[in-house]
């Protein structure tokens, strides 16, 4: 199968959908001629024109609000927020309006909107442009939260997000944009709420999101050579969360390590750990669940410190070993 990048997979998914469905349009800052802050919409204005690839003023709450309105009135907007840190500017529209409308109008109105945004650290964008805030949104009933970790998943999950009648927040990790992988040419959909076992193993379950899936897979390869067999699970969507796949895996291995880039304190890893221990998997746990996440600091600008502030492969290896300690 042909290989394309994560970034190309997202562009292809949107383009294919826009060719099929004229209600779909894009809105965001510099997404037209400039092609978006990370080049995701590069060239799309040429095919779809500036009516459907709409550059906006620098007012996230303004154009997000406009997108919510157009979604309620029948359009299917895709909003690009340059950096997920700026989500915080849109939060009233997103949390108080988009997430609530369908419920408050008893299903008569719906908000079929996708909000795409790059998140995460690793490229030297410093504290205001490098955060991972998915847990904030996974806390809100009425939203769906997606975090793809491969080009294949990105294309299929985005298709599902565009087909969804509720607002979906779609996080794209900056460091993954350049990642290449096999992606089918035709459009396909990966259901929201279905986790993927990225690697099967027997001894420890690693539940990782976004770029941490890739780092966990790397860690698993190294651990394999030491005789430790890791199962790596990518929930792919935090909301809805595929609890069953996680629980079944932990029942098999008896040990769990949860990894995300977001700050550990109050991060979604706590939720996953709780899901495990509240479930029937509790009686199978043979070690405390390890939770790996970013340090409780703003992401530093210094590249070494930046790297050090979020889990790396070595940290995951250490975390796994902590669950299988024997004296």
């Amino acid at each position: 199968m042909r290989e394309i990048t994560f970034q190309q997979a997202i562009r292809e998914s949107m383009s294919q959908e826009m060719r099929e469905n004229e209600l779909v349009y894009l809105m965001g800052e510099d997404i037209g001629v400039y092609g978006g802050a990370f080049g995701v919409t590069n060239g799309m204005i040429g095919e779809f024109g500036k009516e459907r690839i709409r550059d906006t003023p620098i007012s996230e709450i303004g154009f997000t609000g406009a997108a919510v309105g157009s979604a309620i009135t029948g359009m299917r907007p895709i909003v690009e927020i340059q950096f997920s840190d700026f989500l915080l500017v849109t939060i009233d529209q997103l949390v108080n309006q988009a997430a609530k409308m369908r419920y408050m109008f008893g299903g008569k109105g719906k908000v079929p909107m996708v909000l795409r945004t790059p998140n995460g650290s690793g490229l030297g964008f410093a504290a205001q442009h490098s955060q991972s805030l998915e847990a904030w949104l996974a806390h809100i009933p009425g939203l769906k939260v997606v975090q793809p970790s491969t080009p294949y998943d990105a294309k299929g999950l985005l298709k599902a997000a565009m087909d969804e009648d509720n607002t979906v927040v779609f996080f794209e990790h900056k460091m993954l944009y350049g990642m290449k992988g096999e992606v089918p040419e035709e459009a396909y959909s990966i259901p929201l709420g279905k986790a993927d076992v990225k690697r099967e193993g027997q001894d420890v379950t690693i539940i990782a999101t976004s770029i941490m899936v890739q780092r966990s897979l790397e860690a698993a390869v190294q651990l394999e050579s030491e005789g430790i067999s890791c199962e790596v699970i990518d929930p792919r969507t935090l909301l809805p969360l595929d609890e069953e796949t996680i629980i079944e895996s932990v029942k098999k291995t008896g040990r769990a390590v949860v990894v995300h880039e977001a700050v550990k304190r109050g991060g979604f890893g706590g939720e996953i750990a709780s899901v495990i221990q509240e479930s029937e998997a509790f009686d199978y746990l043979d070690a405390p669940i390890q939770r790996l996440g970013g340090r409780f600091i703003p992401i530093p600008y210094n590249p070494e410190l930046e790297k050090n502030s979020v889990p790396q492969v070595a940290d995951i290896i250490e975390g796994v070993k902590a669950t299988i300690y024997r004296s």
Partner: protein, 436 residues
Amino acid sequence: MANEVFMPKLGASMESGTILQWFKEEGESISEGEMLFEVMTDKVNIEIEADSTGVLLKKLYEVNDEVPVNQVIAYIGQKTEDVEGLMKESLEDERDKTPNDNKEDHNLMPFKEREKIRATPAARKQARDYQIELNEIVGTGPRGRIQLDDVKEFVNKLEPDVKVTPLATKIAKAEQINLDEIKGSGVQGKIMSEDVRPQRSRVGEERREERIQMKGIRKVISQRMIESAFTAPHATITTEVDMSAIKEMRQELLPRIEEQIGERISYTEIIMKAVGLMLKKHRIINSSLQDDYIILHPNVNIGLAVAAPDGLVVPVIKECDQRGLTELTEVTKGVTRLARENKLNLDQMSGSTFTISNLGMYAIDAFSPIINQPESAILGVGRILEKPVGVAGTIVLRPMMALSLSFDHRIIDGAPAAAFLTELKETLEKPIVMLA
């Protein structure tokens, strides 16, 4: 403030009780009136209710621990409450009470032993499944935490791996034979293919025995039987009773009593009534030996041996001589039912002065029952069977029933025992005399 749970004093003679089971785990919530634990006295097993509402904070004793009455055995309180302080308090109280005791760690020991064990949920589950106490296992995890592998290793040591040849393994799998039950004929008991071949296994089969621990009611029965059989010299005498009249009487009473109370009168109640009246007359049979005195009981309280699911129990029907047959039937059926459901309370099981054991529902003619101490005699009732008997020179069939009286020869001699049994026989053959 947490509430203390005490070992209850369930009878005047009760000095200690054995905890048979806890119905609640530590940390579980419990409300007043809910069953908290089951205790065994020398007479009976009783379920004890909680007398306060809250969370079971701490259990100070485990199952099978024997605890003196009025000792604190658990605490119920609010989730956040700290019981350690309370425990120390009651501990110090106890110390004050026993000044002679060694002042050192002696008193602290039981609590030290019960220090929380670090173990993972998986290890705990495995230990539960194998019924292993965690404190027997050495943990190899961080800070001595017991992990699944520690339990598995412990189990493996208990049950050494069965040595078995590959072929035997295959055959066993195909034939669905449990290798644990096979005794190997190879070197060091190695299971060979011949051992598991179907035709062989039937011939040379040696099944493992089943082991049932003597505990609870079984243990109580055992101790009481030993006590009775080896302290009281038993003598047993038997006679046969013609039950024609009783049979007729029962047929007449049956519908009347059933209409009144919805219970069917059985021979047992009629025999109890007759025995009650006879005991009133033959007081030596209704007696107990206490040290150097023979106690002649003023009341006639008859115990009735009942086969409960866990073993023999003896509910007591008080003042049998005073009750009419309707009432006797009602009371007897009631306690027998409770006995079969293990629901008798201590009161319903104590105070008997004589016991009747009826095996009439089986094909048993006569037997020599063991006296229910501290009573001095017991009546064994056999089945009613039509037998040829000589009446006025002819042979006729009559419903005959054997009565066996075992008596404690220390107290009762043969003659008074025989007199009692004879008069009982006559009464049963001519029940009208009961009205006299």
